[in-house]
Amino acid sequence: MAKFNPGFSRRGLLKASAVAGVGLAAPTVFSSKAYAYTNEPKGGTVTLGFNVPQSGPYADEGADELRAYELAVEHLNGGGDGGMMNTFSSKALKGNGILGKKVEYVTGDTQTKSDAARASAKSMIEKDGAIMITGGSSSGVAVAVQGLCQEAGVIFMAGLTHSNDTTGKDKKANGFRHFFNSYMSGAALAPVLGKAYGTDRKAYHLTADYNWGYTTEEAVRSSTEAMGWETVGAVKTPLAQTDFSSYITPVLQSDADVLVLNHYGGNMVNSLTNAVQFGLRDRVVNGKNFEIVVPLYSRLMAKGAGANVKGIFGSTNWHWSLTDDGSKEFVKSFGTKYGFPPSQAAHTCYVQALLYADAVERAGSFNPCAVVEALEGFEFDGMGNGPTLYRADDHQCFKDVLVVKGKENPTSEFDLLEIVEITPVAQVTYAPDHPQVAGGSLGKCNPGA
């Protein structure tokens, strides 16, 4: 009778099973003990990842963001004059780094391209051990990097991103935005426009053909139509468009008396320049002076458009001419270090770096879930925008919004915009399920590891 020989003994099987069991359990055992969360800082330093456009059309804005981050790191580590740490309502930051660890940083180049931005953020997380990613000058990039950070288990503190979707349908538990959004621009601008130009107006929208353009058009249309304006035309313009003359001429043919340029960056510089060239600002239509509106302004764009911005209304997140203590401290620190006043992009990035550090200090941990808990519902002041709330429902900051106008007689190349009104936060606050931001969900915070 043939004897069954399986080729291994009972004792051997038990040994092999034990080794295999330990082997399978090992990753969980080690990770749960060695890495409680992604890139947990073990030594005396902690690394932050600054992901800004260092090349491409927004490289100048990215350079200003980087300057702000470097200043924030200096202040967090106890250098310089402390800047907004002196005026920040939370006093958790001591100027000894974050939780006693010296702050170091690495930088990535988003190139204002979603795939490049994700690649640079991934590299900073995986190779450089960055525990938090921040920065950027585009909503497309912000949404893409926010998604990556959610998957990787690190916090994302958005830079300049204005689309409703960043904290609307694309919101994520690990992502936070200090910058204002399209809805807020519309809500802040409409009353000022109504007061300046009347409530019986016919508007024509030229809109950049991508996500930010759509949400901005929707926000401005909705708020201006609510006060009585009629939208007589809305045309999408290709993002790569440089000469807008063929889009401006139909405006001349319409009976519109207001042109709203839902454009940003080079698009805005060119469309505004073209509109002024075609004499729109000298026209009288329906018995009224023709007007142009730029919903989102930045100083760098205003500089590019030159004298064409004079007298044109828009909105902005922050401006260096604000006279509150926080703004004055920041302008002094930044201006002394770099020789010129900071842009709104620099401001939001500086504030985001400090807010993250403060949240870690208050949470007593770098664990992303602890940081999320510390930031959700956090109320603060002294950062240049008045009392501010980081709303728990969507991780969007709610604060005052500035309505600005191109200055008629600028005294320097930085003095291009003047503040017309500081719109109180109550006027720009919306419900978390407002139709313009509806959809998506934060999900659960992901600590990674």
């Binding site: 073209n274 590019g304 005294t411």
Partner: protein, 343 residues
């Protein structure tokens, strides 16, 4: 009807830029057989000649104004251009305001020098290499030039306005019997169109009516035979490269008041200009100019609200669509010569 006239006018100025760049591209291709992807960068360099001259005119010295304060609360540093002291405030102001037209003179020697350096320093080594190599090296050169400009001038567009006398717009509506204000067209765009026509006419006259031009045209038709006659055709072709660079540069100089120049502006025009060259017919100067204006006008019409609402997205593909149709029906392009780019 007034809308149609307006779009034709719009197309003419856009077509002027396409035609000027395509003319230079064709000159280089027709003479040297090189596919020059750095030609858009030459357009951009021309624009930055205007920016540079404007910056030279505004080089200033600082004085302290004890009354006014800067953003940090320190006494304001007031900058006064040196040319105000040298020529007086009135002349100095006029020089700054007219810096774009003056940059035409400034840019000519610079662009000729750039063209000669490019051809002698780099491109001549690629004459006998495949077109793919030429495209790669010239495209690389374009990126290098872009990055150099970005390093010195930043990525942000730099406003370079037209002289005050040429800003504003003309009301053609009244002239043509339409309602006042129905056909508005900026003066500077008219200037640009006239300037482009003069340059194009000048290049054609130069090639047709000068001995140099006739030799070049002969060389374009049969390089070897002209060489056998003892004429140094290579030297003349090098000069033609410099001339093409100069044409692109001048197109860039005059374009600056239309759109604020930035380091990337050359790339925005490059691809479309190549389409223009192909549609016009490789090696055909007349074809390049005709296709430039044709595609400029068509692009303008395709952007009209009525057309876009009927055919969404047509404004973004019209040029390529027309290129496909023309190449299917006339494989050599509108005025292409037999034997050019053909095995």
């Amino acid at each position: 009807m007034d809308a149609v006239i307006l779009q034709i006018l719009n197309g003419l100025d856009k077509g002027s830029a396409y035609a000027l760049i395509a003319l230079g591209l064709t000159l280089i291709f027709g003479t040297l057989g090189v596919v020059n992807f750095a030609h858009g960068a030459l357009f951009m360099l021309g624009a930055f000649c205007a920016v540079t001259l404007s910056k030279i005119f505004t080089i200033s010295y600082e004085t302290i104004d004890p009354v006014r304060k800067d953003f940090l609360g320190n006494p304001l540093k007031v900058e006064t251009p040196y040319i105000f002291d040298w020529f007086g405030p009135d002349v100095g102001t006029a020089m700054i305001e007219w810096s774009v037209p003056l940059a035409i003179l400034f840019s000519i020697p610079i662009m000729i020098l750039v063209g000669l350096s490019m051809e002698r320093g780099l491109i001549k080594y690629f004459y006998k290499r495949p077109h793919a190599d030429q495209i790669l090296v010239t495209f690389g050169l374009a990126i290098v030039l872009q990055e150099i400009i970005k390093y010195f001038y930043g990525a942000n567009p730099i406003p370079t306005p037209a002289p005050p006398a040429l800003t504003g717009s003309a009301d053609f509506g009244v002239l043509l019997g339409f309602d006042a204000g129905s056909i508005i067209y900026p003066y500077w765009r008219l200037v640009y169109f006239v300037f482009a026509a003069v340059i194009i006419g000048g290049v054609f006259a130069f090639l047709r009516y000068t001995t140099f031009g006739m030799v070049v045209r002969a060389g374009m038709a049969d390089r070897e035979t002209v060489g056998l006659l003892g004429i140094n055709i290579d030297k003349r072709f090098t000069i033609m490269f410099a001339l093409a660079a100069c044409v692109a540069g001048l197109a860039g100089v005059m374009y600056t008041p239309i759109n604020s120049p930035n380091y990337h502006m050359g790339m925005d025009f490059l691809v479309l200009s190549f389409v223009v060259v192909v549609v016009g017919g490789m090696g055909s100067l007349e074809g390049a100019v005709a296709a430039g204006f044709l595609l400029g006008v068509l692009e303008s019409f395709a952007s009209m609200g009525e057309i876009v609402s009927l055919l969404p997205g047509i404004n973004q593909i019209i040029i390529y669509l027309v290129a496909i149709i023309i190449l299917l029906t006339r494989p050599r392009g509108l005025m292409g010569r037999k034997g050019v780019m053909e095995e």
